[in-house]
């Protein structure tokens, strides 16, 4: 285990993930010592499962959206004296703990402020059709509006250095936070790099994924609060 990984806080936003959250936490534990699950007002046993698996749990008493959950995790991490970086890791099991660990190592080795996961940098990745088109459209939009030439705008796996965590505050409660983070990275002049990651498209994660319709909601949120 690298030194930086010992001082990483893994923030796992989860909403009604009782079926998989335990496995997600257990997968992360061998590599990271501080796992914080933000239970975003789940109506099932997400909190209990996460706690049993060995995570700390921050519980939103009502559902506020993934962006709000991430921001809660970031604020908690900010108060940890020993925290040197934060990993954001979706609670539905679509990310791989190995990727997260490799990204923390990349942050340490390259010294950038933020490492962003991208599913489009690996040749092996098979993104379902339909998702590809939507994600490419979202990425093009984000490149144009935020000015950050990313290859994957809506990837929940990221590593932020302490400096970045202190400079980034999310006001987008919904899914528009993904664009907002990139916008803030540019605005605060943080250095960043992308890292190839694999998304595991299980039936579960696909069912929890966003529909095309949510892109309308995201655009709307971004215009009002941009």
């Amino acid at each position: 285990v690298s030194g930086l990984r010992d001082h990483a806080v893994v923030v796992v936003p989860a909403h009604n993930e009782e079926a998989v959250i335990g496995g997600v936490v257990e997968g992360l534990l061998p590599m990271f010592c501080e796992i914080v699950c933000v239970d975003d007002g789940s109506t099932d046993a997400t909190s209990q499962r996460a706690r049993e698996a060995g995570a700390r749990v921050l519980r939103h008493c009502m559902n506020r959206g993934q962006g709000a959950a991430l921001q809660t995790g970031l604020e908690w991490a900010r108060r940890r004296p020993g925290m040197e970086c934060v990993v954001t890791f979706d609670g539905d099991g679509q990310h791989r703990p190995d990727d997260a660990a490799a990204m923390v190592d990349a942050l340490r080795d390259t010294g950038v402020d933020v490492v962003l996961g991208s599913r489009f940098l690996t040749a092996a990745q098979t993104v379902p059709k339909g998702r590809t088109l939507l994600l490419k459209a979202a990425t093009t939009f984000t490149r144009l509006t935020s000015g950050a030439p990313v290859t994957d705008a809506h990837n929940g796996l990221r590593v932020l250095s302490r400096g970045a965590v202190e400079k980034v505050s999310l006001s987008q409660d919904g899914m528009a936070h993904a664009s907002e983070i990139l916008h803030l990275i540019q605005k605060r002049q943080l250095s960043w790099s992308e890292f190839p990651v694999t998304i595991d498209y299980t039936e579960h994660s696909k069912a929890k994924g966003q529909s095309v319709w949510n892109s309308v909601n995201i655009l709307w949120d971004l215009t009002w609060k941009g």
Partner: protein
């Protein structure tokens, strides 16, 4: 004539609504607008001929049409105002939820450290 007035009213209200919410001045302005609309409404009921006179002045065929146009502008403004207030409230609820989540975790943490000592 009436097009200019209606579009101007609409723009002024939208811009005023989007900018500087919750300042004392805008809150006072809203109350004055509210009272003015009420007075105009009462006047229009007591003196029905007045709406026709004003309609003739601004080039609208019937007084009732003028009332309808003004009502649409006011209702649109009210909808926008309520929407923005709702968004503010939403942000406040999120901050409250976050503060509570952090507070609870802090207490759990304290409990755990007391139990172990």
């Amino acid at each position: 004539m009436v097009q200019v007035i209606l579009v101007a009213c609409f723009l002024v209200l939208v811009i005023a609504g989007l900018r500087s919410r919750r300042t004392q001045r805008t809150r006072a302005a809203k109350k004055i607008l509210f009272i003015a609309v009420g007075l105009v409404a009462v006047a229009a009921v007591l003196f029905p001929g007045v709406t026709q006179d004003v309609a003739d002045l601004v080039g609208v065929g019937r007084g009732t049409d003028l009332v309808l146009y003004l009502a649409i502008v006011l209702v649109s403004y009210a909808a926008l105002d309520i929407y923005l207030r709702f968004q503010d409230l939403n942000d406040q609820v999120t901050r409250l939820t976050r503060a509570l989540a952090l507070l609870e975790e802090g207490q759990d943490d304290l409990q755990r450290s007391q139990d172990s000592s």
